[in-house]
Every structure is written in C-alpha cells, then in structure tokens.
C-alpha cells in the first residue's frame, strides 16, 4: 500500500501521471489509514468513500487518456463539516442540522474538487465553529493525534487532526478568530487563513460574516499554497470576495528571506498567559530569520489588546443574526408538539443548539439590543478600526509580522471546557488578524514535551505570497519531523 505520509500533493499528482499508482489506490490508502485511526481520533462526522471513488475514477480516466492532470489530482482531502457539498450532510456538528443534506456546493469545495482532490469526508468541528478545542461538537470531541488525551484545537479540529495524522493530504477549514491557525499550531500542521475576501465564503455556513474565511491545512507550506491557488479568486456568489488577481502562490516559495523586513510583535510576546516554551520557540524562530538574512526587529500593535473583547462582541452579534435562520420552519430539528409558532421556535432552538451556541446567540442578541448597540457593537467597531490602523502602521516598516499562533500547546480534553473565558484566550494572537482582515499562517516551529508549537506569520492584505515565502523559508531551515507517533504506528499496523 502507498505510504501517503511520505507524499506531498504534487508527489501524488506526479505519481498518478507517471502511472506509479492510481488515484483509486491513493483513495484506498487514505481509507485504510482512516479505518485504523479514526476510532481513536474522530476527525470525521461523515466519510464519503463513494464520492472519493467517483473523483478518483475521473482522475484515473484522465491519466489513462494521457491528459494533463489538474493540480490536486488524486489528493485526498478533508472538508470541514460547515461547508456544503451535494451528496453529503452539512451538520456544523450541531444537533439542529444533524440530518441536513446539502443541496448545493460551497464554492471553495467545488474549486478544490474541480482541481482533482478526492473528497474523503466531512470533518468534525466545534458546533457552528464556536470553540477552540472541537469539544463543542454535538457528535463528540476530536482527539489530538500527538496525544489523544488532548484537544486538537478548534474549531477546525477535525480538519487539523486528519491532516496531522495523515488520513488526508490536505483539508479545508474556516477561520473566524483562529479556527484554522490555532488547531494548526496544536496539531503541528501548516494552516492558513487567507486575506478576507480572497476566498469565497459562499456555501460555508456563516459564523461571523465579516470575519469568516476559508483556508487550507497541509503538511507543508507548498501544499497549502497549492490549495490556495485553487480556491482563491472572485466568486459572483459572494459579494465580499474580491477581484484582486490571484498569483501562483507556489512560484516564490523558495526565494528565501534575504532582506525581508520581519517584525516580532513584542507586546504580544509579553502577554500574561503565554507559555514560556512557546515564547522561547517563537524567539528562536525569529533568530533563524535573522540568520537567514532577514532584517528582524521588534514592533508593537498596541490596539491588538482590545482584539479579544471586540471579537466577543462582533463575532456573537453577527452569529446571533446568522443563526436565526435555524428556526425549525424549513429544515433542521423541529419539535413535533409545538402549540404555536413561538413555542416551535423556542423549543426547536433550545433543543437543537448546544450550550456554547446558545451562549453566543444570547451575547450577540444582547449586544445588538436597543440601548446597548452603541456601548457594545459601536465600541467594538471602533476598536476594530484601531487594530486595522495599528497593523497598517506596522506594515509600513515590515513585510511580515511574527507572533505565536497559540499561547500554549495542546491542552487536555475537559481542561477548559467549563471555563469559557480561559478557552477564549486560546485565540488571543489569531483574532486581531480576523478583525483586520489580514492573512496569517501557522507553521510548526518546535515541540514542547512532544507537543507541537506554531509560529504565526502575518502578511499584508492580499500579499499571501510574501507570507508563504517567509513560512517556507523557516520550514526549510528547521526541517522538523511533524509526524505524530500515532501516524507512524498506524501505518505499520
């Protein structure tokens, strides 16, 4: 059987082109791996072997006909279960959508599959992407392949774990406050949130419309760039997607960082609650950049300290509105003994939503209520403007900025699930980027007691290319082995 963990996306495409193996064999290897490891990890809400087989057959037919294969031909891919794909359920890991069958395709998913990827399954998440641990799933938590007693981060924990353990080569996640990058850091994967507007949000069940962005998980920066190539670009179905031209993000990956101006966000490194070994690892990474010829210096983003509070107004406000449609009228969970329409709404929603969803809906509803709007939403928007301005100032002097992705390595399942505020702190470094619409990538920069640490590289708006180049340079320099022991054992077994 093929050892998928040794193959990049390009290796898979080249292997099929050279007829060393078929897309069908790649799919078989992925599902064998899933069979062995999924019971321990629970990365998926639904597996889609038929869809993967159909996609594989298409690729194999193209290969047999000698046609040029698309860039992600035969690449097994996981899809976060908040993105629509016809032939699958899109549950958002919520009871209220447990049986919801997609009737149309999410644009980013469609583009990924059009590029030849094999849809392996729908990945677990915190219900409606509300969380940083994937414990808030109505279908049970996903476990971290590095230590199955620990969380994989969240909300895209399933998408992160299935890549980390090698069940798939790439996956799609969505990131509203760090939901791609933080699980990327906690699972030792490369995880990117593109610039807001770079990738269409159409078909991804909205959490906070002004913050949400779809992005890739991969084993290496190059695969992440390849995925971004395929999913980026204007979509007529998303009015916030932009017409900005899409370069080949793989073209400049090996150009190095000589002369690159790199800013370490010093005030974030001084944040209380940042684990010392994470801080040390990030500082060591900064030193590597200097050694590689970059101009490294400290920079401050003072307004970023308002990020968390602004985010927990804006995010829930938009979420409370976006989740209103789950009312039991047209689809989704509905009580069958409602006495009137109000009773139907209230009980269907009370039964269908989990505690964190209810908490955020209530927070957001409160923040938008008459008499409170200016004090909460209005103030949060002001803070957001300040954060945008601070980043803009920093990018006058620097090409990329560095922060830790997460203040700490993967924590234990249950450790923070009863303390929402502690959980919310997990995203303190990632949230400011969503508020500012900036792209960010988490790239592994070390291990602490056998658990991965992620470095967040922040780029200018629509300059993912420079951000990816910086991430690739560090990756090439560190040559870390980011395969968890479980993955190696799983392959042997």
């Amino acid at each position: 059987m093929i050892d998928l963990s040794a193959l990049s996306a390009t290796d898979i495409r080249d292997g099929i082109t050279a007829k060393r193996f078929s897309a069908r064999e790649v799919a078989a290897a992925a599902f064998a791996h899933i069979d062995a490891l999924e019971p321990a990890i629970h990365a998926f809400n639904q597996l889609t072997p038929e869809l993967a087989a159909q996609a594989a057959d298409r690729i194999d037919a193209m290969a047999a006909a000698g046609e040029e294969l698309p860039p992600l031909a035969g690449v097994p891919a996981g899809i976060k279960d908040n993105m629509n794909l016809v032939g699958t359920r899109t549950t958002c890991s919520a009871k209220i959508l447990a049986n919801y069958e997609s009737v149309y395709d999410c644009t980013a998913v469609r583009r990924l599959l059009d590029a030849g990827a094999l849809p392996v399954g729908k990945c677990n998440l915190d219900e409606f992407a509300f969380g940083s641990s994937t414990e808030n799933s109505a279908f049970g938590p996903t476990r971290n392949p590095w230590d199955i007693e620990r969380v994989p981060g969240g909300s895209s924990g399933g998408s992160a774990a299935c890549v980390a353990v090698g069940m798939v080569t790439v996956s799609l996640g969505s990131d509203t406050g760090g939901s791609i990058r933080q699980p990327g850091a906690l699972t030792g994967t490369v995880a990117m949130k593109p610039t807001y507007g770079r990738v269409s949000r159409y078909g991804c069940v909205a959490f906070a419309s002004s913050l949400d962005q779809i992005g890739p998980f991969a084993h290496n920066v190059r695969d992440a760039a390849l995925v971004l190539n395929t999913i980026a670009g204007k979509d007529e179905m998303d009015a916030t997607s932009v017409t900005e031209s899409v370069p080949d993000f793989t073209a400049t990956l090996s150009d190095g960082v000589k002369g690159l101006r790199v800013g370490i966000v010093r005030d974030m490194l001084e944040l209380e609650g940042l684990a010392p070994e994470v801080k040390a690892s990030v500082e060591a990474a900064a030193e590597r950049y200097a050694a590689l010829g970059a101009e490294v210096d400290d920079v401050e983003i003072p307004a970023a300290r308002h990020g968390l509070s602004a985010y927990y107004i804006i995010g829930p406000a938009e979420a409370s509105s976006n989740l209103a449609r789950f009312d039991g009228i047209r689809y989704g969970h509905r009580v069958d003994d409602a006495i009137d329409v109000l009773d139907l709404y209230m009980r269907s929603r009370a039964e269908g939503f989990g505690p964190e969803s209810i908490r955020r809906i209530m927070l957001g509803t409160y923040a938008l209520s008459a008499g409170y709007y200016d004090a909460y939403y209005g103030q949060a928007q002001k803070a957001r403007t300040l954060i945008i301005e601070d980043f803009a100032k920093a990018f006058e002097r620097y090409d990329v900025l560095l922060t830790p992705t997460s203040p700490e390595v993967a924590f234990k399942i249950g450790e923070k699930s009863t303390d929402p505020l502690a959980m919310y702190l997990s995203d303190v470094f990632t949230i400011p980027l969503n508020l500012a619409g900036l792209p960010g990538i988490s790239v592994p920069c070390g291990l602490s007691e056998g658990l991965p640490i992620g470095l967040q590289v922040i780029g200018r708006h629509f300059d993912e290319a420079t951000m990816l180049r910086a991430a690739a340079a560090l990756e090439a320099d560190l040559t870390l082995d980011m395969t968890p022991a479980l993955a190696k054992g799983g392959l042997d077994g």
Partner: protein, 498 residues
Amino acid sequence: MAKDRLAEVLERYEAVIGLEIHTELTSLKSKMFCGCPVEFGGEPNTRVCPVCLGLPGALPVPNEAAVEATVLAGLAVNCDIALWSQFHRKQYFYPDMPKDYQISQYDLPFCSGGYLDVEVDGADEYTTHIGVTRIHLEEDTGKMVHVGGAEGRIAGAEKSFVDFNRAGTPLMELVSEPDIRTPEEARRFAQKLRLIMLALGVSDCSMEEGSMRVDGNISIRLHGETELGTKSEVKNMNSFKALHDALAYEIVRQADLVDAGGRVVQETRHWDAGAKRTSTLRSKEEAHDYRYFPEPDMVPFAFTEEWVESIAERLPELPDAMCERFMTTWELPKHGATVLTSDLAMAVFFETTVAEAGEARAKSVANVMLNDFSAHLNADGVAVDESLVKPSMVAELVGLVDDGAISSKQAKEVFSAMAETGEMPAVIVEARGMKQVSDIVAIEAVVDAVIAASPNEVASYRGGKVGLIGWFVGQVMREMRGQGNPQVVNEVLRKKLG
C-alpha cells in the same frame, strides 16, 4: 361614513398623516439578492434558490438594477442621493422570512429629503407640498396561507403554509413626511407616486396584487397645535378608495375617542374594507426591537456624482411635465391634459393617435378620448391596452368627421361599433351605409321636396320666424336618415328659403 362627518371633525381637529409606501420592483428580471425571476404567483416554492430560501451558507449579492431603480425613483421625487449608503439587517422571527432577518436599509438609505407637489381638485382646488423623508431598498418576504383559525391569521390556525416565490423580491419603501392633512391628499399623493413609478417603468404598482402597498400613520391635534398627537398605524388598505376611507374612518375614530375624554393608544390597526372599520392588530408593547446592524455580507455602496448623473439622464418625462407639455403643445385645457396624462398608456395612445391623425386634429382626438374612449373603458372595465380600440381607428374616425364624411353624431355610433368589434371605422361606415351625404345636388332634391310639402312653415319662416330653420334641418335629416351633412343642409335650406 358620511362625508360631512369627516368635514365636521376636520373643522375642529387637524389630521396629521404620513404614508409608508412599499413598491415591488416587478419590472426587474431577478430578485434582490439572487437570480430567481420576479413574477407574481406561480406554483408555490418554484421560483426559489438557496439564497432566497435562506439555506445554510448562502449569501446575498445585490441586484444592481434594483439599486439603480431606487435611485431613479429617488431622483423622480426630488430626493438627495447618498454617495455612501449601506444595507442593514432588520431582525425578527417570522415564518415567511427565510433568514429570520430582512435585508433592508436603516440610517444610510439611498434616497432622502425629497418632495412631491400634489394637486387636490374640487371646489377649492389647491396644490400641497408633501415631503419625502426617504426611499430605501429591501427584500420582500414570502407569503403565508393559514388554514383554520380566525381571519386567516397565524394565531389559532390549524396549519400554515409558506410560499417563498415572493421572498427576496426587490421592495422599495418610501416614507413621507407627516405633511398630509386629509384623506384626499393622501390618496392624491399615492396616486401621483404610482403614476411616477409607472412612468419610470420600475413596477406595475398593482395594489390588488400587492406590488404597491400603502400604510398610513395618523394622529389628530387641535388646529394651531404644534405638538404631534399619539398616532395609530393603519395597514391593509388595498386600493386608493380603501386608503381614503380607512384614513377618514381613523380620523373620525380618534376624534370621537378624544371628544369622549379618552386617549388615542399607539398601535397598529387593520382596515377591514368589508366592515368599513379598523381594528387593533398589535399594540406598541408588542413592538419589536429589530436589532439593526450593518449587513456584513455586503460592502457599503460608494456612488460618485457622475454615476448619479448618469442615472438622472435616464429619467423619462414625468407626469407633471407631460401634462404641462400637453397643455402647451396641443393647446388642451388643464383638465383634459391631466386626464390624458394620468395614465401612461392613455398618454401614449393619445400621442400615437395624433401622430397618425395629424397635429391639427389633436383637439378632436382629445375629445374622442376624453369622452367616448374614457366612457368605453369605464363601462367595459378594460385597460387602455386591453381595448379593441386602437390609435389607428381613432385617427381614422376623427378624419372621417373632419372631412365631413360622417357627422359627429354618427361618430358616436361608429365608436361604439368599433369598441365592440375592433373593426376600422371606414369599414363600419361602409357596412352600415352611414356615409354622410355632402353632395349638393342630392341635398337640394330633398330640400326641394321638404319645402314643397311644408307651405305653412315656409310662409311662417319667410314671415320672420327664422327659428324654424332647425325644424327644416330636422325634416331634411330625417328624410336622409341622418346622413346629410348638417352644414351643407343648413346652407342649402337658407338659400332656398331665403
């Protein structure tokens, strides 16, 4: 309700009325935020897609044509067009609203600060200036059908069905200033607005089908008072008559309440056209907190002066200007010009007919249209373009009269036949042998015969009773079965009798 009751109340109280007028942009090809077609009716839930059904993950994309139509409407009622505007979400739960919020506009509408000058005729004809606070754009809801329960309302219904065909239809909302003082002014304002929308071609403005919906806010106060009284809002006024009658009812109801020492309660009331009364729909306590916030799925609109200018260039001739032009170009009296321009189809019909009949016959064309044509439309209950009568027919008819081929009396008969059969007037005249006789020799023969048969009358006439000329004309015309050219008959008679 008796008219004098309203008049009596309005002597003691001043009514303060503001209107909210929703107009569906029915002439657009697609809905407000998706590509589904805009059409009335249809099999339930057939004109829907993930976007207008509010399916998970679907996103709205604004229909630029709807934005342009709204700006056009704003310009037509003298509004300022905002160079920076935005959609907001208006949030409340209702089963006909798929997302449980309506994409609407809040503090940044496309148009604001306009007005309409409205003519009110009658004994004391006057013009009143009514401010237009704003015009904004939003999406319409679906439609519900309730089975069982009272009055087709959701409360108490056994079953409810939702049809989302209408959901997402572009809906323009105009809010007037509370400058309206009588139900008649309100009706005139709404009618004028409808004419403008029809001229702009943005909507079919059917109050019956709900593509134009008028709600009124009414309060009363003593004359000279500057504070506003407590208002009630009246809904379900599905015709201009209903608008007038409901407002009149509400003014009198409020006056009666106050006269009896009571107080008007702020509430929404429902007009029942059958019972001719309003009743409470919901009280202020049940009013929603809509939790408006900027729609994050769309970026704000930044217009340039040049863009607004380019929309303004698309403004067609509006009813007021057209009426003015009809008066000056065709020398029509104000009343005639107003009637002809109060319906775009009527105005187009008139101008097409004049183009065919010749400009010199404009007044004759106007006369036929204001009399025979209008009467026929009313009597047969048809719209201008549904009538069998076409401009070419009216042009020919006017020509026949002008050329003396038929009398104006005969023309009325020909018109009726035309309206019934759709045949050209010449064909009807021919078939009925109605052609007017202007041949002097033929007329002289009849005149001679009449004179010979009426020696007494001839003697009287010649003796000075010249008024008898009418009697002689009548005799001749009777002999000629009405086909004699009256002018020629008159001339010949005077010559022979004189």
